[in-house]
Symmetry: C5
Subunit: 364 residues, 5 copies
Amino acid sequence: MSSSAFSLKRTPGTAPGIEHDEIANLPVERERASITCIDYCPAQVSIQEISDLEGFVNYHRPDWSVVRWISVDGLADMHAIQVLATKYNLHPLAIEDLIHSTQRPKIDSYGGGGSEFQARLFIVTRILFITNGRLQHEQISIFLGHNTVLTFQESRRPEWEFIRQRINAKGSRLRGNDASFLAYSLLDVVIDKCFPILEYYSDRAEELADLILEKSDPQLINGIHQLKRDLLQIHRVIWPMREVVSSLLRDSHECISDATRVYLRDLYDHIIQILEITETYREIASDLIDNYMSSISNRMNEIMKVLTLIGTIFIPLTFLAGVYGMNFRHFPELEQPWAYPAFWFICFLVALVMVLIFRHRKWL
Amino acid sequence: MSSSAFSLKRTPGTAPGIEHDEIANLPVERERASITCIDYCPAQVSIQEISDLEGFVNYHRPDWSVVRWISVDGLADMHAIQVLATKYNLHPLAIEDLIHSTQRPKIDSYGGGGSEFQARLFIVTRILFITNGRLQHEQISIFLGHNTVLTFQESRRPEWEFIRQRINAKGSRLRGNDASFLAYSLLDVVIDKCFPILEYYSDRAEELADLILEKSDPQLINGIHQLKRDLLQIHRVIWPMREVVSSLLRDSHECISDATRVYLRDLYDHIIQILEITETYREIASDLIDNYMSSISNRMNEIMKVLTLIGTIFIPLTFLAGVYGMNFRHFPELEQPWAYPAFWFICFLVALVMVLIFRHRKWL
Amino acid sequence: MSSSAFSLKRTPGTAPGIEHDEIANLPVERERASITCIDYCPAQVSIQEISDLEGFVNYHRPDWSVVRWISVDGLADMHAIQVLATKYNLHPLAIEDLIHSTQRPKIDSYGGGGSEFQARLFIVTRILFITNGRLQHEQISIFLGHNTVLTFQESRRPEWEFIRQRINAKGSRLRGNDASFLAYSLLDVVIDKCFPILEYYSDRAEELADLILEKSDPQLINGIHQLKRDLLQIHRVIWPMREVVSSLLRDSHECISDATRVYLRDLYDHIIQILEITETYREIASDLIDNYMSSISNRMNEIMKVLTLIGTIFIPLTFLAGVYGMNFRHFPELEQPWAYPAFWFICFLVALVMVLIFRHRKWL
Amino acid sequence: MSSSAFSLKRTPGTAPGIEHDEIANLPVERERASITCIDYCPAQVSIQEISDLEGFVNYHRPDWSVVRWISVDGLADMHAIQVLATKYNLHPLAIEDLIHSTQRPKIDSYGGGGSEFQARLFIVTRILFITNGRLQHEQISIFLGHNTVLTFQESRRPEWEFIRQRINAKGSRLRGNDASFLAYSLLDVVIDKCFPILEYYSDRAEELADLILEKSDPQLINGIHQLKRDLLQIHRVIWPMREVVSSLLRDSHECISDATRVYLRDLYDHIIQILEITETYREIASDLIDNYMSSISNRMNEIMKVLTLIGTIFIPLTFLAGVYGMNFRHFPELEQPWAYPAFWFICFLVALVMVLIFRHRKWL
Amino acid sequence: MSSSAFSLKRTPGTAPGIEHDEIANLPVERERASITCIDYCPAQVSIQEISDLEGFVNYHRPDWSVVRWISVDGLADMHAIQVLATKYNLHPLAIEDLIHSTQRPKIDSYGGGGSEFQARLFIVTRILFITNGRLQHEQISIFLGHNTVLTFQESRRPEWEFIRQRINAKGSRLRGNDASFLAYSLLDVVIDKCFPILEYYSDRAEELADLILEKSDPQLINGIHQLKRDLLQIHRVIWPMREVVSSLLRDSHECISDATRVYLRDLYDHIIQILEITETYREIASDLIDNYMSSISNRMNEIMKVLTLIGTIFIPLTFLAGVYGMNFRHFPELEQPWAYPAFWFICFLVALVMVLIFRHRKWL
């Protein structure tokens, strides 16, 4: 049942969370994740694809680096996740959520305030995209520290390219701001991705509305139901994002700067807008179903009415033909030479009167 | 799909907000906006159409001016927007919302309290109007400072004329009050604009109700659905205004005076009233659909019933005619001279008895 | 569209509120309002009909008067309203609401705490009544000061008579209490007025339920819809009263004494009770519609079933008659003397067997 | 309309509340209430039926008495109510609610904290019971003081007997606790009374579900509607009890001891449980209606289908019989000796083919 | 009516709560409960099946034991419950809830802060499982003290085995934590148990969706209704768990450590996820019902349409056959030798034209 927003992978009775040393033992196919590290400050940028992860984590970041963004594409490389989890001291529960990748969007704050873990915001979001006409969504896990952002995604996301371009652009607002602004920008891309998707569904709805007027193909109703389910799924994925961003706005956290908070308000407005559009489209889809149903039922009623009218006009005529087929010996009309033409005239008259009556009562 | 309240123009991956120096690069047709500046105090008023914007912003406002209202008609003149944004130090996010002009009504407070920006309230509202029988709405963006109001609208709004008249009228309450009262008056005009629109839909609903009684034109149902969708759209546009005004009432802001707040309460009442009327009309529209449906189905049932009754009356008669058309050699009735008249008599009798039974059972 | 609870009279662009000197210029037919002034204290009562309003407002109230109640019947006498508004320093927004008389029930508190206006509670309520079988409601505006109550209503309300009697009754609780208790008593009368109205609709619903069992008159469905709409309107009028009284209970205001607050809690209970009864009756009305619909559809199904059964029984018989009407030269049965009676016997047998089958399957 | 939860007895314009000296003047039939007074402490119990009420109220309670419970059966004995109201200083509004006995469950706290009245909790609850298969409910009014409980009910409630037994049982928790625990125990009995009533409706629903499978009696649908209305009424009566108990839990009141509060939490759980069960049963009742409706409509469709199939099979055969009944002079088939048997064979063939087609298409 | 989530066992009038010395008198079949006691600390574990309960409770726990978990399988052994209740000083209300075992999930905190009882959290939860294709649920009662956990369940739960394994595993997080972590782990197992159950219902829904496309068996609709009711029951059971865990998260309690609280947040996320999936599946079930209904009605309409078309085509032909069966003496056509073939040609032509018309109108 693919329409459930988030799938079901937990096995009851397993321990909650995944410890750092347990990660490497997880039974997954060993494929290397592609890891990119970007360091930047207003004056300088450095982008490196990392092949030797152990070597990388042993070096300190350059002094000029204000923000370091490590982006991991692929969640099956347990070794890479283990190394990064140990280096950045990630919480076992967060690692579990990151690997299982079927979480609903949420935000958790771990550590900070003198606890054993460093202050980290762990944000789970889901990016929507359309592949082969089917709506898909993938989990994106973002760890935000004071000047580090870690992102984990199932596959290389083309959307990140826009962010890299803005980091490369000297003087861009993104480059001049801190790590929380980078995290905001990533969420912003994820949310803005919904607008073209909604446009796709808007076109799809218009197309279906046109088809309904033309014919009554049972495939259409499946199409509308699919449209409605997809919109529901968008709603299901975006709705918890509202909670995430509103919690970022409401609760002050040491990793989020005031400058970023202003922009989060803007992001919140976009989320509300997407939810409202989704709501509107779902109502339009419901209207489409109603339209389809009533067009079907109208057509059927129309057919039955016309057929019954035809039947009704012929019933008295058939009776009349039956009457003059009777074999009574004394049957005065049968003898008359004008009887047969008169029969046809009467038939014509009866049919005409009935049609006129039906017309007058607006039955035809 | 034009029924979505707010359209979809964001491209994913673009940077949030629009910096002042980016504005002029935006790819829009270069048409000049018409800009009006009104300065007033209880004693004096000055209205000027501004053609040389750079010259204008370099001069200080006259000392006597208590409130300055700059009204910009047309959102395509990026140069004008850039000059004003720089002069009044508008926030990049607000500029983006202002230019994209597809925002839902909202209120944002920028700056104040020692931040880099001056205290500004940025209010987005939408004015409803009816053009060629179709409901339209345009965004109106209002910036409210301590003694300045900036309004940006897509086209010259005739509704502003009423405000200008009241500013011109010596001793009017508007003239004697501060900038926040002007902002309130603008919102008040926008909200009051809904009353004649609702009256239009009230007339439309009555008209449709009358037409339904007369005939069952499938066009009618489209008309009712359109009515319902328009009312939903009014609701969608006005509902966030409730939030805007309630937030103005609730959160004290340095730009809103206490005198204005009393009037905002009145505005809030009007919004609630409009929302309730919209709700009522939508229920009436739903009732119209129900009425139409049940009138259709009643008519169809009535037709089928009458036709089936006619058929049923003739069925035994046709059988009887068939009987006396049989060719049995020994067929006593056929020989009798009274047989044929008797047949007609029996037919009449059977039909009569059936009609009486149907009448008695209230089937006819 | 008379079913909207509150009508639409605002013209967009007009200034909010009505100043005292604007009142007299309002274009209404000049008919004199009837004004009654009642002064009372536990020991003494004085009731006067006021014809010379200017003279009246120039005199101070007698020293013994604890509460003064000025009741104005008729909202078209702008002169009277102007004089009283000036004397009692009423707020322009309140005067506007009072004159337009299409407000939903609400409460506004003006002035007090050293502002330019004196402390005033402005309460708008609506009294429901039934005229010629149609539900009507009129606005009643109540201004409550420290020891003065002003009421404005469109016409002389017979319900006030009960209040006057209780003021006249020496030792009554009303007489011994302050102005806020008088305001409470007025609201109490307005709310209690709903109980007989709800009883009227209870009777109406029972009547309709009986009629539905008897016959299927399309007028009935209109009657039920009207019932439902009227109940909705009662709900719409009473619902905001809940908010009004709950706000009186919640927010302490200098004009409301603690003694009165205990009674307001009782009033609140009555409002909740009315809202619940209205809700119950609306559900009953919905059930009535369902019952009507299913009784219609049952009857129709019953008819169609019986008619089709009749048709079905005769169809094989007609076929049989057709068979023996054929003109084959070699047709053994036709020659037999017992053939014709046998035909009737077979017809009877076939019909009997079909009826028995239909009976057995519970189709008849 | 007996399905409204609470009836309508208020006359508009009457004074709110009933003063102690007004009680005796109320126009009710003079029947003596039966009054029982129970004094108890952990060590001792005394139960007395009171016939001389004046005498009784003049004596002080025995010193050993920790809790005094005065239970009044019958609300028509205005004298008794007057005497007790004076003795225990009951609030006029509470007396009015007590006598009118059509209140929805509620809680009012009067007096305490140095006011003219002593601290009293006035709790109105309603006990549900089934008489002759019809759901009834009666008001029970409970006044709770520091060590006194007064209960007023319309008739002697058998449920109180359980409480008396527990008071009589030495060492019972009820006996060892204070007055608020007695009040809690009374409410607990009232709520627990709902469980057997819900069991009754559970049985009733199962019974109706079985009957629906058997036949389509229109009486059934009335039965289900009655079931649904009764469950709604239980909900209406219990729902405000939730508010009452939650308010007792939330707001600390001097008459409620901490020990009792723990037990009130348990009572609250029971109320939630009853509300949930009611909700479940109402959904089951709705399902029953759906089932009934769809069983009716299935049966009807089945009938129509079979009858139409029969008709359709015979229509071509009748046509064929008609053909060979034609009187054309040149009609080769008629002359053949095998023609008549061939006709029957063709008829049989046509019918068989049609039945096979219908079978193949799963129409039969 | 087995679909109610929680059954009805309270007898009205019985005393609330069950005292320790009352337990043994309860009339239940005397079957021995199986009791297991597990003591553990990071370094050591000891598991013992307890047969001599009295002996057991008289010994102190070993000094090294950090957490003691006593698990009681079977609620009919009143003696065991009495002994443990006395030993661990359980509250009478909690014992009542524990024995009746029909509670909805809830949390109660007893004692602590110097009261007569020790600080205890009493958590009622329900575990869902599927036996013979039917959804079942059993109550699990958990008492949590500072370093003791008591669990009572109706039968030996296989799910506990996972917990025991993790306790046995040296260095597991469970073994290194305190009693509240054990309580959390138990709740976690109970919640995670839902995931395979939801998967079962996902498969069931897909299966039903496939069957609907194939045929219209009335059994299907029962299956879908059962699916919907089961999902509702899961929702009913899990929904209050949300409240339980959210209350554990919100209100700090001395028995819950901070380390555990982080994990409870994770548990809360799982509960929300289950509730959302349940919601999704219920919508899918509703869609299934709609699909079934419309597939039924489509099939019926299709049948009626085809049959009526067949009837309609033959009606004019039968009339024509009737015409030429008439016995008029002067009947020119009858004499012609080409008349009979012409009749068949006309019949064929009429049928063809009608079929073409029906095709053109898309009726066939």
